[in-house]
Symmetry: C2
Subunit: 291 residues, 2 copies
């Protein structure tokens, strides 16, 4: 059985793993995100030190250039993260480690992981959405990863914002109160003055959060008609949140979309990732398999 490498790049850390799947990870390392050259040197050193791999998959924070044939394929492009704009990741890994490289958005990689081994097995059209520091979305249509002119940026949809009920202006440097601007982990921290994990007891926090998440999910449902939505990320770890989101989505759809799947209280329709926080790096391994 061939052995693959996976890299999940993140704004605070990079996860690297070598193996064949969730039950067979032979080496793993977490590398803090510092400068591009230092971070990439450590990644390269890890793969040079460990067993050889057939191919490497990379799921990256972005925006990224994943257009095959583009001169900047494999780059992180216009990220606001200091020092990281226009950073070559994919081509550098390919050149330095001399292996085929697959390059995707972090959320598409996580979607692929859930499709290969997790909560989206056997589905043709589904979404993976992460609600953490930011909000990102990926997924598949017709069994292929979402793609297009650039790549999806679910987090930057606009949603209704009642300024009277919630005078908070939002945290997105580009759009203020877009979905991510209102409902990301950073938005929660800035609005309430404390991080989500310190607000567990405050029902107002989670009622508002569920409402905002549901408003964005309804747009995703109306545009893509996914067969399932896998909803991950740190903010979703709050145990009361997912049931509240289910209730809000049902209320917002108001019976319009007839489907036994949706009607069924949403429990199977909007669901947690089966791979948990490993969806990204495992998805990167699944991407390597396909490369």
């Amino acid at each position: 059985m061939s052995v693959y490498g996976g890299i999940e790049t993140g704004g605070s850390k990079w996860e690297c793993a070598i193996g064949t799947g969730p039950d067979d990870l032979r080496a793993q390392v977490t590398i803090p995100t510092t400068t591009p050259s230092e971070t990439l040197d450590r990644v390269v050193a890890f793969f040079e030190r460990e067993s050889p791999v057939e191919a490497i998959g990379i799921g990256s924070f972005g925006p990224v250039d994943k257009k095959l044939g583009s001169p900047t394929w494999g780059y992180i492009t216009s990220t606001p993260k200091p020092g990281w704009a226009n950073t070559d990741v994919g081509q550098q890994i390919r050149r330095r480690l001399m292996v085929p490289v697959g390059f995707e958005t972090d959320v598409n990689a996580a979607a692929l992981g859930e499709h290969r081994w997790g909560a989206a097995q056997g589905l043709d059209t589904f979404c993976y959405i992460t609600v953490g520091t930011g909000i990102g979305g990926g997924g598949m249509t017709h069994g292929r990863l979402l793609d297009g002119l650039v790549h999806p940026e679910f987090g930057h949809m606009r949603i209704p914002h009642d300024h009277e009920a919630d005078p908070f202006d939002g945290v997105c440097p580009y759009h203020g109160d877009c979905w991510e601007g209102l409902a990301s982990g950073i938005a929660i921290l800035e609005r309430w003055g404390r991080p989500p994990e310190e607000l567990a007891e405050d029902e107002r926090v989670w009622a508002l959060q569920a409402r905002y998440l549901a408003l964005g999910l309804v747009s995703v449902i109306c545009v893509l008609s996914p067969e399932r939505i896998v909803l991950g990320g740190g903010v979703m770890r709050h145990p009361q949140l997912l049931p509240l989101v289910h209730r809000e989505v049902v209320a917002l759809l108001n019976g319009y979309l007839e489907s036994a799947t949706i009607g069924d209280g949403m429990g199977g329709y909007i669901t947690r990732p089966a791979l948990g926080s490993r969806a990204g790096v495992l998805g990167a391994i699944a991407l390597a398999e396909r490369t």
Copy 2:
């Protein structure tokens, strides 16, 4: 060359045509939408009277059941249009005319028409959106028509609604101020008391309309990352509207999505249908070709 039939079903009229494409339509008829049995009898009579066809494509108003293998495949399902809920269209046409039948949403059929002969030729991922009596959207990802759990319902996304600037509550019987509820032709009529064609001189009307359309388009762009958006329907015939929509979309994206295509003033990115109001029935013929 094989000859195909196309049917575009609508809430007020059905368009039927026989031919091979936009430059070779051999017979056409417009049938008013009355009762299901009367309307379908006239459609069947048209095809029986005219030359035989290899197959028939149907692009239908909905919601519809287009799941292959479903017992109600080819049905118009939960439409609020009186008398038309749970009406068998596709199976009846196939049985009575004894030809293969392809069945799609009206907007997916129009998208297919634009892909085959119009403004979306050669694209893999694009949308066709119609702004008329209602708002509907279809399109392709990876060269295949949008599909999923049910089918897309772009019109029922929620968008920001500033009740102070626009106290109008929206016209959607399910959701009030969803995208269709705020920005469809009916919404314009109800909000301003006159139909869009009598409001040509009123700049407030078109500024607000462009804003609402752009808000929905941004959600579509963030979820699908289409290579192009074809924007048709009666409301879009107002000549000042499309340039205003371009401006609003650019303002809302605020430089976040880097792409030469989007940056270029939007003229080639959000565009009119090349087949005009014939996109639907021609798309139905293109659907028959594929059946």
